[in-house]
């Protein structure tokens, strides 16, 4: 047993190693390409960073993680140079560590409650997670665990986003016959159509999907449930349970005059064209996108940051964020905002569009905006933006991307009798199990919570996996 003094000394020593930075592409260079921005840790730097972790007896970080990753456990393995083992440790609880290491808001989760963060900088949990997962993929030593003997139960997963992929992996491992139905021609959900290559390389998502297929998960593409077949049809085909992980994919517009004129995109369309359809490689790929010179993106979340940084990479001279509150209220991750600033994005806070004006060809040329000020906090706890009277002004634009949020797509609820939704159209479930009001039908991810995060969708998938496993075994 170490005595108190020794312990304190150990702690002090560790604190002397500063939090290790991750090298990144130079901002000027990177706005000319779609390659990933941070390069990731080298082995040496990863070990150094891992050694900063003091292996708390009662770690703060684990409760901060929505899926309870054994954070000190995997970090210790990295510190010891056991990189593959670290990756395997991560995969015990997190099916997509290479994704989460990149896109999780660690600053609001594990790193926020890391003990070291009280006095100094928290351990770079996200970067270490990314390192271990990348190491495993690079070495190709991907372990395909043995799956349990077949149970004879068939489970249908609707939607191949983080929620659907997680539950598919969990259920196939325990021996169920799992089929994923995906409406698009590629798996990954937002990971593949929304989040850009420069933040999450698509090869990573493909590798994760490939891994699931090796485990025995069947994926049927171009299968829009509610259209090609309904949930009832799936039961009729012999599926014992159905999980709905269809996301909150329908774009929201502001319904202001001129919003439908040419040159105005929803963020979903803009990002889908660029990411899923690879329009940034047009004409090598067939899908076009209009590369504006003056691009305004409306919104202040991750989706807005991804859109505005895409606009820069497509060659915009001026890329604006138009956000109706101030910088402090922006829901985007700090890292994203920081990267956008470095790249030259121009932020217009306390600004709200009220009308779009088209040229003689019906193409947007100007947006009329109001200036705003902040009033009392609203339901979300953020201060409500109020119009400043007589403050109207115009901004010249040739492309506008509306990134003010998404909502539920009604196709599945409409075609599934007995499936209750709340007033916003999100599916009602029993907490902690994903059980819906329809026997044998479970749901999780954005279609239950509204737009949230990758890790929360994965967590919901995992919880529903447990519930479905129990349910189908009881049949």
């Amino acid at each position: 047993m170490e005595n108190k003094e020794e312990k304190a000394e150990k702690k002090e020593k560790k604190e002397k190693i500063p939090r290790q930075a991750m090298p990144e592409q130079d901002p000027k260079a990177r706005i000319g390409n779609f390659d990933e921005v941070p390069y990731g840790y080298s082995e040496e730097v990863a070990m150094l960073e891992a050694k900063r972790c003091i292996q708390c007896k009662k770690p703060g970080c684990i409760p901060g993680c929505p899926v309870d990753v054994d954070i000190p456990g995997f970090i210790k393995l990295i510190a010891e140079g056991k990189f593959i083992e670290a990756a395997w440790k991560l995969k015990e609880t997190n099916a997509l560590p290479a994704v989460c290491g990149r896109v999780c808001p660690q600053e609001d989760q594990c790193e926020k409650v890391c003990i070291l963060g009280k006095k100094g900088d928290p351990v770079a949990v996200g970067r270490l997670e990314r390192f271990a997962a990348d190491y495993e993929r690079a070495t190709g030593k991907i372990e395909i665990p043995k799956v349990a003997a077949p149970t004879g139960k068939k489970i249908a997963i609707v939607g191949a986003g983080p929620a659907g992929l997680t539950i598919a992996g969990d259920l196939v491992k325990v021996g169920h016959d799992v089929t994923v139905f995906e409406a698009l021609h590629k798996a990954g959900g937002v990971l593949i159509y929304g989040i850009p290559e420069f933040r999450l390389p698509k090869a990573i998502v493909d590798a994760e999907v490939d891994y699931l297929e090796k485990l025995g998960v069947k994926i049927v593409f171009n299968a829009a449930i509610g259209r090609l077949k309904t949930v009832d049809d799936l039961f009729a085909e012999g599926f014992h349970a159905v999980f709905l992980g269809v996301g909150a994919g329908a774009p929201v517009f502001m319904n202001v005059p001129g919003e439908n004129i040419s040159g105005i995109y929803s963020a979903n369309e803009y990002l889908t064209r660029s990411n899923l359809m690879k329009a940034y490689l047009f004409p090598k790929y067939d899908t076009p996108i209009v590369k504006g010179k003056n691009v305004a993106v409306i919104g202040g979340g991750n989706v807005a940051m991804d859109s505005v940084r895409t606009a820069l990479r497509l060659g915009a001279d001026n890329a604006y964020i138009i956000y109706r509150r101030s910088k402090k209220e922006m829901p985007a991750r700090i890292e994203e905002v920081h990267h956008a600033e470095e790249e030259g994005v121009q932020f217009n806070f306390l600004t709200n569009p009220i009308e779009y004006i088209g040229d003689e060809n019906g193409w947007v040329k100007q947006m009329v905006c109001n200036r705003m000020e902040l009033g009392e906090p609203d339901d979300s706890g953020r201060r409500r933006p109020i119009v400043i009277k007589g403050s109207e002004f115009t901004i010249d634009v040739d492309i506008v991307v509306v990134a003010i949020g998404t909502t539920a797509n009604p196709v599945i609820p409409r075609t599934t009798p007995g499936l209750d939704v709340n007033k916003w159209g999100y599916i009602v479930t029993k907490d902690g199990t994903g059980e819906t009001t329809r026997m044998g039908v479970y749901a999780g991810g954005d279609i239950v919570t509204g737009s949230a995060t990758v890790i929360l969708a994965m967590g919901a998938g995992r919880q529903a996996a447990k519930a479905i496993d129990e349910y189908v075994r009881s049949l």
């Binding site: 409406a183 171009n222 259209r227 774009p251 040419s262 929803s266 369309e269 209009v290």
Partner: protein
């Protein structure tokens, strides 16, 4: 992968293609469409399901060669494959016994109106069809339309066959002749649909049009297909493709259809047809 069973040119730039898609073939109803991608680098394009055979598990499409993807698709032959086919999409046509229904088709729109005419006939409507084209050589599906219609009227812009003039004039004549019309379905180029709506509006004859906005996912996820109907924004793919023609903002549809003119030209210049589908 969807195997192409048959390909025929109906005329120089209009192709009829039959390919395998058994599940869609079983489900589809008149008025619905598919989105297809020839290969992983391709664009997603929407095409109406003209016919299906649930026993053989096949779908029939009829398309006009207008740009990159349709050019490449036309290069494929029986035995080749289309990589991705998503469907059936959109609301099926509301088919009831309305009484007398007039089906107007212009150009390749005749292919789109054909399954609707067939379904209306089956429901017991008196079906009067008016089909038109610029000139005789490019008129399609005359025989098929004849089979599902009680009366078939043909028009060509240049007068080389049938009535000399537009389908809208034929419809106006029909109305003037005292024919009691309960519903009109008009499918074709946007200007044609607009004119037909102008003809029927004074008589308050409900007129259904099928809109063809640019689409990407066609599942309600992107909003590329926004159209304005009755002053409200609708998504062509999930709320349509059919709408009450008297409410549609055709001008907006036309400008939105021109959004990618420059890129479409560039894409044609770099066509990689021939790499596809093998």
């Amino acid at each position: 992968m969807h195997k192409i069973i048959e390909k025929t040119y109906l005329q120089d730039i209009v192709v009829r293609m039959v390919f395998e898609a058994p599940e869609i073939a079983r489900k589809r109803k008149a008025g619905q469409f598919v989105v297809l991608m020839i290969d992983d680098k391709g664009e997603r394009i929407p095409l109406t399901i003209v016919d299906s055979d649930s026993e053989k598990g096949t779908l029939t499409i009829i398309f006009q060669i207008v740009g990159k993807t349709t050019t490449c698709l036309a290069q494929l032959s029986a035995g080749d494959y289309i990589k991705h086919v998503l469907g059936p999409l959109g609301h099926p046509t509301e088919v009831e016994n309305f009484g007398t229904s007039v089906c107007v088709g212009g150009g390749v729109g005749v292919g789109v109106v054909y399954p609707i005419a067939a379904a209306l006939k089956k429901k017991g409507n008196k079906v009067i069809s008016i089909i038109g084209a610029r000139t005789k050589d490019i008129l399609i599906l005359e025989e098929e339309m004849g089979k599902v219609s009680d009366k078939l009227l043909v028009a060509t812009d240049d007068g080389s066959y049938g009535f000399h003039g537009f389908v809208s004039a034929v419809l106006q004549n029909l109305i003037d002749s005292g024919e009691k019309i309960d519903r009109v379905f008009a499918i074709g180029p946007v200007p044609m649909m607009r004119v037909i709506c102008n003809v029927t509006k004074p008589y308050n004859i409900k007129t259904i049009v099928s809109l063809n906005p640019i689409m990407v996912d066609a599942t309600g996820m992107c909003g590329a297909c926004r159209v304005s109907v009755g002053g409200r924004t609708k998504f062509g793919c999930v709320d349509g493709p059919e709408f009450d023609g008297h409410e549609v903002d055709f001008g907006l549809l036309m400008t939105r259809l021109r959004m990618y003119c420059d890129q479409e030209k560039q894409s044609m210049d770099m066509c990689r047809c021939g790499e596809n589908g093998k």
